[in-house]
Amino acid sequence: MTDQELIERHLSGDPDALDQLVRRHQRNVFSFLVHLTGNRTEAEDLFQETFIKAIAALPGYREQGAFGSWLIRVAHTVTLDAWKRNKGRETSDDRRLMDYPDQGPATDARTESREIEQAVTGAVAKLPEKQRRVFLLRQHSDLKFREIAEQTKEPLNTVLSHMRYAVATLRAELQPFRSDDIDRIAERNRR
């Protein structure tokens, strides 16, 4: 069932449609917010606010591109609004993920996998805020760079430059985790 069908079912009163819709997109939206804010508690608050605003806007929603991309745009706007509200906050550049979630029993394979996840999360958290926003908008939505430029209110060349530097930084940070190591760990996890 497509997102549009789920939205129509929700609007016509099907109580399960909303649950399915949220579950389908929770991982993408929550990851976006966790990496964008660098703070899990803040991400949880913004996650809730994002979905409540998005669901309230569903009666007027018209399908233009993927629903997931629209949700990411809502999440991005909600986050920027929250940052504007909390003017005295520490900048997101100063943040690091301190409370990475416990995701199951600590087997050797699980530990190694978690190590990579933490390295990826840490590397993203180290990116300057503008680079991080561009990188995350590109990774979590189907937005073209021209649309990301509109969303971030920056020229296209600047946005492309942010993306290039972000990827270069991530590549340098994640150098120890070469692709063959990662494949080996993923293979072990599958077994």
Partner: protein
């Protein structure tokens, strides 16, 4: 159009190439460059592998309790889709008002007339049956009811009736001394 793509240009716009956000001409020129440039092929490969690493290992699930909370609070905040009595009443208000007026006109036509026109001071009587009698024999009905719509048939007794004047407080007060 036939200008060659430099490595610098390719590196700057590698994401446009990866997202297929170039015109067909531009893409053909970039493809030509890529065929003969090992350095740019490596740039392309590195970019793809880095974002692939993020896609595989950078995703986090929201806590189950949070998902449930979001669904329940969104459902509570949402407009009720099952029409309540109030919604039904609001939707049908004009129809109900028209029906009420029609019913009133049927059963109490004189009351409606009294409200609309000041030519009908006669208290309501007869209701639905009066309409039936009017339709059956208009002349007899009008004569009997002494409708003011027909000049000269108005009942003097009714039209001149006045409520007895209530003695004012001073008169009552003086009456005690008489």
């Amino acid at each position: 159009m036939n200008s060659r793509v430099s490595c610098e240009t390719f590196e700057e716009g590698v994401w446009l190439y990866l997202d297929d956000d170039l015109s067909p001409d531009e893409r053909a020129r970039w493809d030509n460059h890529l065929e003969g440039c090992e350095r740019c092929r490596e740039t392309l490969s590195n970019s793809q592998s880095t974002v692939g690493l993020y896609d595989r290992h950078g995703k986090v699930d929201a806590p189950e309790a949070l998902i449930r909370e979001v669904v329940s609070s969104a459902a509570m905040a949402d407009t009720p889709r099952t029409p309540t009595l109030a919604v039904v009443t609001r939707m049908w208000r004009p129809v109900l008002a028209a029906a009420a007026a029609f019913t009133l006109m049927l059963y109490q036509p004189d009351l409606i007339g009294h409200k609309i026109s000041e030519h009908r001071p006669i208290p309501p009587r007869g209701g639905y049956h009066s309409i039936a009698r009017l339709l059956a024999d208009p002349q007899a009905y009008l004569e009997k009811e002494r409708s003011p719509l027909i000049p000269g048939l108005e009942s003097p007794a009714r039209s001149r009736w006045r409520a007895p004047r209530k003695p004012d407080r001073d008169t009552n007060y003086l009456r005690r001394f008489r």
